[in-house]
């Protein structure tokens, strides 16, 4: 929840209806609350990361009506009635998705902070284009910064998940 001091003297709150990972919820928000803060602090799904808050790093990427968007630059009040998918919505029936598995197999995660945003961008890419080429993958991941991996492992993971001949790395 937002801190008490931050709640004082604010513009009237609104009730918005959000469908987060397939579950409809009513949430009370202030106009100034960014979607990422509502997802993390009100709904409690902390998989989505709050990075630069400037639209640069892409760690806060979620799918709004299927399109990858930055939840730090989206006001929660603007999302009334929207379908939102976060990284928690990728696993189905307790089993992680192919792209999540590929990230593990390729060692595409180091500190992991950028990973939720990467996964959402890639999920949206693979839904539109099940066999993306390397330039297409790079174009889709333009807005996601990773300071650990150097991106090669991430691109390999996308190739593995899209079944393009890249095998899991074995030790």
């Amino acid at each position: 929840m937002l801190k008490r001091a931050e709640r004082r003297k604010s513009a009237p709150r609104r009730i918005v209806e959000l469908c987060v990972n397939g579950v409809w919820r009513y949430v009370t928000v202030e106009p100034r609350n960014a979607l990422v803060d509502v997802i993390r602090e009100v709904i409690g799904l902390t998989g989505t990361k709050d990075g630069c808050e400037q639209g640069t790093c892409g760690a806060c990427t979620v799918l709004i009506d299927g399109r990858p968007m930055l939840s730090c630059l989206t006001l929660a009040v603007d999302c009334d009635g929207k379908d939102i998918r976060t990284v928690e919505g990728l696993a189905e029936g307790g089993k992680i998705s192919a792209i999540q598995q590929a990230f593990l197999d390729q060692g595409a995660i180091q500190c992991g902070f950028c990973t939720p945003g990467m996964l959402m961008s890639i999920t949206s890419l693979l839904e539109e284009n099940p066999k993306p080429t390397v330039p297409e993958i790079k174009k889709a991941l333009e807005g996601n910064l990773c300071r650990c991996t150097g991106y090669n492992a991430i691109v390999e993971a996308v190739l593995q998940a899209s079944d393009q001949g890249v095998l899991p790395v074995t030790r």
Binding site: P31, L73, L75, D78, K138, K139, L141, E142, G143, L145
Partner: protein, 333 residues
């Protein structure tokens, strides 16, 4: 970081937005994609008391007007532009310009109108005041220009970074502006004041609602180059857009429009270079000569760590290549 406290309105139509802007006065501001406005609200460069969201409006698809020009709704998302066959085939330069803006998420959120109406940028201005190591600058209502201390009071050397504006100006596009008196049309060029303090020439209650691009004449060619340090998610060092039209028979250049963006408070047209090219055959030597003269004519502002001479050199080389690619396309038609 939690944003400062503000109220919120949602517009049901452009008329409604314009009415709300009038009713709420100076504290209101429209927000389309929010990818420029929200970072600026976070750094408190702008502090609208009531952002008026256009989230409820959905853009009309681009349409072909009876005179052959193409009308694109200002709320069209930058990522959506290249999905329209009409834009891909008839306006490849605009599709390329839109695809070079920032990263995928920003293109999914940001609109064409918003890209044209974005604020100018400066490394000192675009940080939260708490992080600025000196007093606020003129644009924030302060008493100094930290990056350019000799600047006269009230001047701002921030740079307009739009990637689509140079392309649209070189295509001779117009914008539809919705205000109290109805809809008026103006050239994209006259949308910009050239003053960093208030770069956009729109009245408080006016909204940019559409962009209209005329049909390209026969034997015309285009060239577009966003020169940047990285391949993506970057503001340009210079954004170069060129449209050429060759003579049907002789192949000499009949008209040229050369526009350089991201170098000054507004996209700059290089009129002298355009005139130098007109009436001459666009061969390699001529284009190199025109590009050299154009780089001299250009007076860029140093920005994002690039010096004036670096930007000039960069423009000289990239403009030559862009002109060559435009001439090549014009000959091919």
């Amino acid at each position: 970081m939690i944003l400062y406290d503000f109220d919120y309105e949602r517009a049901a139509s452009f008329e409604d937005a314009s009415e709300k802007l009038r009713g709420l006065g100076a504290g209101a501001r429209v927000a389309a994609g929010g990818t420029d406005l929200l970072p600026n609200m976070r750094t408190e460069i702008v502090r609208p008391a009531t952002p008026i969201s256009l989230a409820a409006l959905s853009p009309e698809p681009p349409s072909l007007l009876p005179d052959g020009s193409i009308r694109i709704d200002a709320l069209t998302r930058l990522a959506a532009l290249e999905n329209f066959a009409l834009v891909r085939t008839a306006l490849p330069m605009l599709a390329k310009a839109a695809a070079s803006v920032a990263g995928n998420q920003i293109r999914q959120m940001g609109t064409l109108g918003g890209n044209l109406c974005q604020e100018t940028r400066c490394l000192y201005l675009n940080q939260k005041h708490d992080y600025q190591f000196k007093a606020p600058c003129y644009k924030r209502g302060g008493d100094l220009c930290y990056p350019f201390p000799t600047n006269a009071r009230g001047t701002c050397w921030s740079v307009h970074m739009s990637d689509t504006a140079p392309a649209l100006i070189s295509l001779d596009a117009q914008v539809e502006v919705h205000g109290e008196a109805g809809i008026r049309r103006m050239n994209v060029e006259s949308l910009y004041t050239g003053d960093g303090m208030s770069p956009i020439q729109l009245a408080h209650d006016e909204l940019l609602t559409a962009v209209v691009i005329p049909r390209a004449p026969a034997r015309s060619g285009w060239g577009y180059c966003k020169s940047a340090r990285r391949g993506g998610l970057e503001f340009g060092i210079a954004v170069i857009a060129v449209s050429l039209r060759l003579d049907e028979t002789s192949g000499v250049c009949r008209s040229a429009r050369i526009v350089i963006g991201a170098v000054r408070e507004r996209p700059v047209r290089l009129v002298a270079a355009e005139e130098a090219l007109t009436g001459r055959a666009p061969d390699e030597a001529t284009l190199a000569e025109v590009a050299t003269a154009a780089a001299k004519e250009l007076n860029p502002l140093p920005h994002h760590g690039f010096t004036k001479s670096y930007i000039r050199d960069d423009v000289r080389i990239k403009l030559r290549r862009t002109l060559e690619s435009a001439a090549h396309k014009a000959r091919g038609r």
